[in-house]
């Protein structure tokens, strides 16, 4: 977003063009790679299991980020699409459904 804001300022036209190019490239790159947030480090076995569960991820470059706040499981993100397979996400859903019944 900071890059988008930069366009609204008075910037040299040449730099602006370059920035725009960089931004679109950055965007397409982030869309084509898969980001996996996991509570624990993943080994090849885990990745294979993941491929088995979600076959369309095969062959796409991925990046693993360790995030202990998930408690267990992982979150797969590709572009704006998210597949939440974490314990924290499930707990959040549980809380929401309990709250709903309560009302």
């Amino acid at each position: 977003m900071s890059l988008i804001n930069a366009f609204e300022m008075k910037i040299d036209l040449r730099i602006k063009e370059d920035l725009k190019k960089f931004l679109t490239e950055e965007r397409t790159r982030s869309k084509s790679t898969v980001q996996i947030r996991s509570a624990h480090p993943l080994d090849q076995l885990d990745i294979n299991l993941l491929y088995k569960a979600i076959p369309r991820l095969k062959g796409i470059a991925y990046r693993v980020i360790i995030d202990p706040s998930l408690i267990a499981g992982l979150i797969v993100q590709q572009g704006s699409q998210i597949i939440d397979l974490s314990l924290s996400g499930q707990l959040k859903n549980l809380r929401a459904s309990i709250y709903e019944i309560d009302r």
């Binding site: 572009g79 704006s80 998210i82």
Partner: protein
């Protein structure tokens, strides 16, 4: 009762079978928070009108799609939402729970009660934004809405399924006309919905009290987004009210819906659009203000038998400035609706209440819906009034006028007097017919102008007590014939005030 072991067994079994579903969701990041509007980056596959949930569990409604993300209006408190917060698309559009228990309730546009009643629960949900029924599902407007206001029922009749605009300056009695119409629907088999947009909470409370006092809340739902609610809620309020109307219409009922008022609705939409940086057009309204109101009012309709046969009659209200009906929003809504009731400050101040400007007011489809007997009576009324308007300018030179003109002027003055009506005092069809019939037949021509009110009151009292049969006859027969006319004549002559 089951033993603990049995419970444990079921829990164990449950745990063995993994029911983990792999669901993909759309997620985005909040990049801007403005007055009730949030800009989110991401959400590539979200649709227009989809609901969005923030981490703080507040929900939003997508009304803008751009290259980088979406614009969302927040339905609720937007202050806890922070930049950098995640927001996920819920994959469904905004809809409200519908039940018959809505009747008598006061709710906000999201269906949460704002009276002291319980939460509204239902399995049935209706979408807030819906495409209006098409040509095939519709039918001509043929049944009347009895407003109980003499001037409207006789001169500007409204039919079930019509959209009739009520337009006028502030304080000319626009809301009064709408509320009186709701009050008169008591035994008319009609569901009423009053949608207050951007009004003072005190005014809404007073209106609800008034409806309760006349037992009108039994068949009425009040939807309110007050002036203190966010522009987002004010923007969705009429669509929510219309969704409720559609629910009752789907049950085959006739529904009357009052939008009070659409000027403030346009203001709320203008605010949202300007925050979203949409190009501003005339008076800073965005380019699609016309569509804003046309898609709302198109949802008013009369369905044919095949499609359930219900109807939605809409009475939108527009406030003008200094009687200027030709400014932007008023002309837009005038062109969308099937006619308008124009209220005039000058008439109001000179004591003609309801202050309906008969010359400017029209009803484009209501004529076919008017009751036969009213049509027969109103024909003469229209003629007399039109002639009176032509001659009114000469009334100052009364001594120099010929007999014929004097007669016309006298008749016109009496009829104008007869069309006045106290507020919150709707008339039944028979009462209206008898009063107007007597005036147009010249039975009160000899009466001094000051005594007309007294005469009318006496006539109504007489009808309500001794001549109940005549009232019933007029109400049931609905056609004026020689026999009925004789009876009416006898009733009027008996009063002997003339």
């Amino acid at each position: 009762m089951k033993s603990i072991d049995e419970y444990l067994k079921t829990i164990k079994n449950e745990l063995k079978t993994t029911k983990m579903q792999i669901l993909s969701q759309e997620e985005g990041v909040v990049t801007e928070v403005k007055d009730g509007v949030v800009v989110i980056e991401g959400l590539d596959k979200a649709a227009y009108g989809e609901l969005v949930e923030f981490e703080s569990e507040v929900k939003g409604y997508i009304i803008d799609l751009t290259e980088e993300g979406v614009g969302v209006i927040v339905l609720g408190d937007y202050l806890p939402i922070q930049v950098g917060e995640k927001a996920k698309a819920l994959g469904r559009s905004l809809s409200l729970p519908m039940t018959e228990e809505l009747l008598g309730r006061v709710i906000d546009p999201l269906g949460s009660p704002i009276d002291d009643g319980s939460k509204i629960k239902s399995e049935i949900f209706f979408p807030v934004e819906k495409i209006a029924p098409g040509v095939v599902a519709r039918e001509a407007v043929l049944q009347p809405v009895q407003t109980g206001i003499k001037a409207i029922d006789s001169l500007i009749p409204i039919g079930r399924g019509q959209r009739e605009l009520i337009i006028g300056d502030r304080g000319t009695g626009k809301t009064t006309i709408a509320i009186d119409t709701i009050l008169n629907q008591k035994n008319e088999n009609m569901i009423c919905i009053y949608c207050a947009i951007g009004q003072k909470n005190s005014k809404v409370a007073a209106t609800v009290e008034l409806l309760k006092k006349y037992q009108a809340m039994d068949y009425t739902v009040v939807v309110s987004a007050s002036a203190s609610d966010s522009a987002a809620l004010q923007y969705v309020a009429p669509y929510c009210a219309c969704a409720i109307a559609e629910y009752f219409m789907s049950l085959g009922r006739d529904v009357l819906i009052v939008y009070d008022d659409l000027t403030k609705h346009a203001w709320a939409y203008r605010q949202i659009s300007l925050i979203l940086r949409r190009p501003a057009g005339r008076e800073a309204y965005p380019g699609d203000v016309f569509y804003l109101h046309s898609r709302l009012l198109e949802r008013a309709c009369r369905l044919n038998e095949k499609n359930g046969g219900g109807s939605i009659t809409a009475l939108p209200i527009i406030e003008t400035l200094e009687g200027d009906v030709s400014s932007y929003i008023p002309t837009n809504v005038i062109s969308i609706t099937d006619g308008q009731i124009v209220l005039d400050t000058d008439l109001f101040n000179s004591g003609i209440r309801p202050a309906i400007n008969v010359g400017l007011s029209v009803s484009r489809v209501g004529g076919n819906a008017q009751t036969k007997i009213m049509k027969q009576v109103a024909g003469q009324l229209k003629l007399d009034l039109a002639q009176y308007r032509d001659m009114a300018a000469f009334s100052q030179f009364e001594s120099e006028l010929d007999e014929e003109t004097k007669k016309l002027l006298n008749r016109g003055a009496k009829i104008t007097q007869i069309l006045k009506q106290k507020k919150n005092r709707p008339y039944g069809l028979a009462e209206e017919v008898l009063v107007i019939w007597a005036a147009t037949k010249g039975y009160i021509d000899g009466l001094p102008l000051q005594q007309v009110d007294e005469w009318e009151e006496k006539l109504l009292e007489d009808l309500a007590t001794r001549k109940k049969k005549l009232l019933e006859k007029v109400n049931s027969r609905k056609v004026l014939d020689a026999e009925l006319e004789k009876e009416m004549e006898a009733a009027v002559k008996e009063l002997d005030m003339v």
